[in-house]
């Protein structure tokens, strides 16, 4: 897959960062970044979370940062825009990696995302190297495929 520069997001509401401090893409230069576009009301999204939690646990120290981009599917009456609901979902699913609220879908649009859940894998130089979507699970071939991609990018020099 040809690479292209990852665009910088501008989200301001963050969870699982130090004091809720915004995390910029520039802060992550030199690390491999896996973006996960999701929402807690999407079963296919929550079905894939154990894989992302596993990647975070296994590869954070080696240079991977998983970033959840929580993008509501419904208008605000659905409850997906509420920070407390997102925080509860992070706790429920044991998510310790950073997440941001993308309530206006700005980052969703910036990356041209169309489906929940979607994934974007960015290399240490800030280039998008892999994109994909769909639910997968620990132990299945898609989990292994994404893990292989992560390992390959971690092996590259910064």
């Amino acid at each position: 897959m040809p690479s292209r520069p990852a665009p910088a997001w501008k989200n301001t509401s963050w969870l699982n960062t130090d004091g809720g401090r915004p995390l910029a893409l520039a802060d992550l230069r030199g690390r491999v970044v896996l973006l996960n576009f999701w929402t807690f009301t999407c079963w296919n999204c929550t079905g894939a979370l154990p894989s992302l939690v596993a990647y975070d646990s296994l590869y954070r120290a080696a240079g991977l940062t998983v970033v959840g981009i929580h993008t509501p599917e419904f208008p605000p009456f659905g409850g997906e825009h509420d920070r407390q609901n997102v925080a509860a979902a992070l706790a429920k699913h044991g998510i310790r990696y950073p997440n941001t609220q993308d309530n206006d879908r700005a980052t969703w649009d910036l990356y041209g995302i169309r489906y929940w859940p979607s994934y974007v894998l960015i290399d240490r130089k800030g280039q998008i190297r892999w994109e994909g979507y769909g639910e997968f699970h620990v132990g299945d071939r898609w989990h292994a495929q994404w893990e292989g991609r992560i390992q390959a990018l971690l092996a590259e020099a910064a």
Binding site: C42, N44, G47, E73, P75, Y115, G134
Partner: protein
């Protein structure tokens, strides 16, 4: 023949459908309003975690529902319904998940 035509006209008057690629909206007059039923296209599941909604011009929001869900409560197994008092005009939003693709997307349909 005449009886058949009259029956057909009555049937069309009683039930009308608006269609998206993912579901049809079937209307049926009932006492007190109109029953709307979302019938998914083959292979499409309707997300029950985020119940389909009708946003009306007066900003009220009505939700579709059905007691029949998959064992994990993720999807409807019977078409969700909603009885709308008065006009059914509005914006229908539903989260649909094609069975073979393991993804969801928001489908929006304008009802008249």
């Amino acid at each position: 023949m005449r009886t058949l035509l009259v029956s057909l006209v009555l049937l069309l008057g009683a039930c009308a459908a608006e269609v998206s690629p993912y579901f049809s909206v079937v209307r049926e007059p009932v006492p007190g309003g109109t029953r709307l039923r979302l019938e998914p296209a083959p292979g499409v599941r309707i997300n029950a975690q985020q119940k389909p909604a009708l946003e009306r011009p007066d900003s009220t929001v009505l939700r579709f529902d059905s007691p029949a869900l998959t064992a994990d409560s993720a999807y409807f197994t019977e078409p969700p319904e909603l009885v709308v008092p008065g006009s059914t005009r509005g914006r229908l939003v539903a989260s649909i998940c094609p069975a073979g693709e393991f993804v969801c997307k928001a489908e929006i349909l304008t009802l008249r």
